[in-house]
Symmetry: C2
Subunit: 546 residues, 2 copies
C-alpha cells in the first residue's frame, strides 16, 4: 500500500459540490468521496499554513512542536512524518509546499550540514523532497518573502516565460494593455492569468506527482507516501482561462455575517475585522471579484484531480494507494467581516477531508460521510498504521482514523483542539500584549465551540446547534458559565497532557516497572534476607583482596 | 566572574545548622550563608534526581523538557546550561553527577557521533565533562545500573583498592569479619565505610574540583561555570570514620507524621507509604540507624566545603566566583511514613539554596535569608545574567534571582510548580493507571500546597500556615473548594504556558510585526494605490519580454 496525501492550501470545507456548494461542481473530488469516506467535521490544529502543516506533519499540536505561526522554525530533531514512516519501511516524499522553516541555529549547534541527507530532511520537515516549492514568490523592497529556489519558476523559464519571476509576472498576474495586472491586487481577480493553463501551478504540480509515482514504481523498492501539496486555491486569487470566467457574481453566496457581530466584538475578533483584510473582504464588490476566481481555482484543481485519478486508475495504482484530499485551513472570504483565516470560525478552521482506502476492509464505509470530530493530527497515526509501524502515542497526539474508515465501533474523542498565535500581528500592539500572551485556544465539541484567549481577554463561545453560522458570541453570557467551565476543564486536561516524553514509549516505561533491583538498586532494604539471594549476590561475600 | 555551582544529592533543606538543625553543625556552609543569601523556600521541579536535574540544567519544567523521571533520555538538541553559557562566552564544565541519559536514538537519527565534541555535549547534558561520575555503581543479576565508566572506581583502583567495583565493596560498605557489610542494607549504616576518609567520594570530588579550577585559571582564556555535583548524602547510607559515629539515636529528630495520615490517604500517598520503602523507614530502629549516617555524610560534606572555601580564599577565587550550594531534592527519612522522595512534602521537594555573590552590588543582602518562592529553574537565568548573556524567556522558564541577591524591589512569582511522574512505579499497576496518567503536579503558594493527580484521582491540599508539618490533607474538604479552584486556575495557566517556541525570541517576533508587506506579501489589497509605491513596485509595470 502506498499513500497519496494531497493537500490544497486555503480550500474551504464547503467549496466542493459533495459538501453542498450549490454552484461549484467538483465531480472528480466528489467521485473520490463516493469511493471513500468524507469527514464533515475535520479540524486543523491552527488556522495558519505553517503551524497547521507542522501539526499535520508531526502529528502534534502547535504548542507541542512549537511552530505556532508561519515562519517559526521547527526545532531540530522534532519527529516528523518522514521519520515515523521511514522507520516503518515506507518512503516519505514531498511534491510541493510545506511552509517549513528550518531551525538553522539548532542545526548549526548540532553541526548538521544543510546539504547532507540528514540536513536536508531536517530542512524539509522530514520529507525527502522530489520537488519543494512553497509557491509564494512574493517580492518587496526588502527582497523575496522566500529566499529558496523555486522549481516552478525554473520550469516557467524553461518554457520560455521571460523575466526573473514569471510566477509573479505571468502565473499570478493578468495583463492590461502592456502592463502586468497583478493578482496581488484583488481588483484583477477577474482577469485570466497570463499563462497557458497547462503551465499554471496546479497542472504543473500534478504532472510532477505523476512523474514521481512513475519513478517510484519503476524503482519499486519500497512503498511510498507522497505528499502532493498544492499552493492553490491560496491567494493571489487569479486563475488562467477558461477558469477565470466560469463563475460570476451570481455564483457568490451571501456573506455569513450580522451587524450584531460588530457590536462589542471580542477584542481579537474586533481587531481582525477592522484591519485592512477584514475591511476589504467586507466589501461586496471585493467578494464578487475574488470569490469567482477562488471558485475557478478550485474548479481547475478538481479537473486536475480528474486527470490524476484517471491516470492512477490506468496505471493500476488506484488498487494499492490510499488517497487523502484535504487542506491546511480555510478562507473567511468576507464571512464574519473577515478575510483570510486567523480565527476559529468554521470557514477558517474546518477543512475538507476525504480518505479513500482501496482495501476490502473499507468497503463498508464507501461513499459515506463521518461526523466524528477528527483532527489533522490524526492523519500521521493513520499513515503509520497503513505502513505497519507500531503506534507511537508518546509522540503522536492524534489517533488513527482506521476504525472510522472501517466502520468499526470505537469510542472517539468528544472534543477537538486548535490554537492560534498572533504575536507577529500588529494588533498585539493595539491590545498591549506581550508575544506569549497573543495566543488563542479553541475547544470544539458536538455542540459548542469555545475560544480561550491568553492575556486576560474574555473567551468566545458559540452554540453550533442553535447558531450554526456562529453569529452570536456567548462568551460573556452568565447563563453559559457552566459550558464555559466545562471547556476550561477540557483545556486544563489538554494543557497538562504528556507531550514531550518523546524519547520513551509507554511499552518501554511499563517494562521498567520494578526492574531496578535487578540492576542492583535496592531501596528500603534493611537486612539482606529480605530479598531473593540473586538480587543481593553482589553485595555479600568476602571483602575483595589483591 | 566565574560560577561554582555546587549540588549535593538528596540533601534535605533542614539538615544544616543555618537552617535550624539542632544537632548537626555545618559551620562552613553556614559561613557561606553568612556571606550570601539563604533561600528558605527553594523548590526543585521534581522530587527525583533525573528530572530535577534536567530542569536545573535546562531551566525548564519536566513537562517542557520531557525528562519526567530517572532514566528518561533528554531529547537531542534540547538547550542546556552549557549551550546558553557558552553562547554568552562562559565555559560550562561538569565535575561529578548529572544523572543524564543521552537520547541515543535521536542522536543516531541526526547522525551525531557520540565521541565528537557535539556528541559528547549531547550525551553529557551540555556540559564539557571534566569528570562525569554519576556515583551509583550498583550491580544486580541483570548487570550494572549504570553502564558507563566510573572515574571514581578508576581512582580507587589506582589507590590499590582491589576488585572490580571498589565503590561498592569499600566506599559504600563496612566490614564484618571478612565479609563486606554493604551499605545497600541499612542495618549496616552505623558501620564505618571500609575506606580511608580522604579516598571517599566527597573528598575525592572536592579534589577534582580544585584541580579543575587550577587548570581553568592556568588556561585563563574564559570565565567558567563549574558544576560540582556530589553524589552524597544520597544512599547507600554509609560514611567512613570518623563521621560514622559522630551522631547517634539521641540526635535523631522525631519523625514528622501522624496516625491520621494513614487513615484514608490519597491513593498515591497510600501506595507510597505502604511499599517497602515507606514501611522500612517507618520503623524507628531504621531511622535510628540510618539518620546518624546521613548526618555524618552531611558533616563530611560540610568539612569538605570548609576545605574548598579556604582554598578558594587562598587562591583569590573567593573574590571573583559566585558560589551556589543546593541539592537536587530532599529525603523523607521516615517523615510522613515515607522514605526516599517521590512526593511533594517539604522534606522531599524543598531544598537548601545558598548563593554567594562576591560583587559589591550584593553587599546589601549578605547574611540574610529570602523567603520568596524560588525554583531550581531560576539558577540558569541567574547564571546567564552573570555571564552577560541576553535573557532567553522563550526557552528558559525560570527567572534570574539577581534582584533578590541585590535586595532590589521586584514583583516575584506568587506560586511555584513541581511535577512527578511515577509511571515506572509498580503502584501504577495497583492503581490501574496508564503511564500518561501516572503524573502529579504541585502548586505551592505562600500559604497553600496543592497536588493535582492525573488519572481521575482526587487532589491533595495542605495549609502551611495552620499545618506547617503537612499532616492534614484537605484535598477532599468541601470547605476548601475555593482554594482548590484557585490552584486549578493556576495549573490551567501553567499548562497553557508557551514552552516550545524555542527557535524564536520575543524580540525576533516583535521585529516581524507588520513586515510582511516589505517582502511582498500584500493582504487585503484591492487596488495598487492603497499602498506606498515602493511596496508594490514589483507588481506593476510592463509585462517582461525576451
Amino acid at each position: 500500500m502506498n499513500i497519496l496525501y494531497i493537500m490544497f492550501d486555503q480550500l474551504r470545507f464547503d467549496y466542493l459540490s459533495c459538501a453542498g456548494h450549490p454552484h461549484l461542481q467538483t465531480p472528480h473530488i466528489d467521485a473520490l468521496a463516493a469511493k471513500g469516506v468524507r469527514f464533515t467535521r475535520a479540524y486543523v490544529q491552527s488556522p495558519t499554513c505553517g503551524s497547521s502543516r507542522m501539526s499535520s506533519y508531526t502529528g502534534r499540536y502547535p504548542s507541542s512542536h512549537g511552530v505556532q505561526f508561519n515562519g517559526y522554525p521547527l526545532r531540530v530533531g522534532e519527529w516528523t512524518m518522514g521519520d515515523h514512516l521511514r522507520r516503518a519501511g515506507m518512503g516519505c516524499h514531498l511534491i510541493g509546499k510545506t511552509h517549513m522553516v528550518a531551525d538553522a541555529d539548532g542545526m548549526e549547534r548540532l553541526g548538521l550540514a544543510p546539504d547532507s541527507v540528514i540536513g536536508v530532511r531536517q530542512s524539509e520537515c522530514g520529507f525527502d523532497p522530489f520537488i519543494r516549492d512553497d509557491g509564494l514568490w512574493a517580492e518587496g523592497p526588502d527582497g523575496f518573502y522566500d529566499a529558496k529556489r523555486s522549481p516552478y519558476n525554473e520550469y516557467l523559464k524553461s518554457k520560455g516565460y521571460p523575466g526573473e519571476n514569471p510566477w509573479n509576472d505571468f502565473a499570478n498576474a493578468g495583463v492590461e494593455g502592456n502592463d502586468v495586472a497583478s493578482g496581488w491586487f484583488m481588483v484583477n481577480a477577474d482577469k485570466p492569468a497570463n499563462i497557458a493553463e497547462e503551465d499554471s501551478e496546479t497542472p504543473w504540480l500534478t504532472t510532477q506527482a505523476m512523474e514521481f509515482i512513475t519513478q517510484a514504481e519503476a524503482k519499486g523498492d519500497q512503498p511510498w507516501c507522497a505528499h502532493l501539496s498544492y499552493i492553490k486555491p491560496h491567494w493571489p486569487y487569479i486563475v488562467p482561462a477558461p477558469y477565470h470566467d466560469m463563475y460570476g457574481p451570481e455564483h457568490v453566496l451571501p456573506a455569513v455575517r450580522s451587524e450584531a457581530e460588530r457590536e462589542d466584538p471580542h477584542p481579537v475578533f474586533g481587531g481582525m475585522m477592522n484591519n485592512r483584510i477584514g475591511k476589504t473582504f467586507s466589501r461586496d464588490e471585493v467578494r464578487e471579484r475574488v470569490i469567482p476566481a477562488y471558485m475557478g481555482l478550485i474548479k481547475q484543481a478538481d479537473d486536475q484531480m480528474g486527470r490524476l485519478f484517471a491516470w492512477l486508475e490506468e496505471t493500476g495504482r488506484m488498487k494499492d494507494t490510499m488517497i487523502v484530499v484535504t487542506s491546511d485551513h480555510g478562507d473567511y472570504l468576507g464571512d464574519h467581516w473577515m478575510g483570510e483565516k486567523n480565527l476559529f470560525h468554521e470557514p477558517s478552521i474546518k477543512v475538507p477531508l476525504i480518505i479513500y482506502d482501496p482495501r476490502a476492509e473499507a468497503d463498508v464505509t464507501r461513499g459515506t460521510t463521518c461526523d466524528e470530530l477528527v483532527e489533522a493530527i490524526d492523519l500521521l497515526p493513520t499513515f503509520l498504521e497503513v505502513a505497519g509501524g507500531a503506534p507511537a502515542p508518546h509522540i503522536l497526539e492524534g489517533r488513527s482514523l482506521m476504525p472510522l474508515l472501517r466502520g468499526e465501533e470505537t469510542e472517539w474523542r468528544d472534543h477537538a483542539v486548535a490554537e492560534f498565535d498572533y504575536a507577529t500581528n500588529p494588533i498585539c500592539e493595539t491590545l498591549g500584549l506581550a508575544p506569549k500572551d497573543a495566543r488563542l485556544f479553541m475547544v470544539v465539541d458536538r455542540r459548542w465551540k469555545f475560544m480561550h484567549a491568553e492575556g486576560g481577554l474574555r473567551p468566545m463561545l458559540f452554540d453550533l446547534e442553535t447558531d450554526p453560522d456562529e453569529l452570536v458570541d456567548l462568551g460573556a453570557s452568565a447563563e453559559h458559565a457552566e459550558v464555559i467551565d466545562l471547556m476550561y476543564d477540557r483545556l486544563l486536561a489538554w494543557g497538562l497532557r504528556m507531550s514531550q516524553r518523546i524519547t520513551l514509549s509507554d511499552e518501554q516505561i511499563a517494562a521498567r516497572r520494578g526492574k531496578a533491583p535487578r540492576k542492583g538498586i535496592l531501596l528500603g532494604v534493611y537486612e539482606p534476607d529480605e530479598l531473593a539471594p540473586e538480587l543481593t549476590a553482589k553485595y555479600r561475600g568476602a571483602v575483595p583482596s589483591e
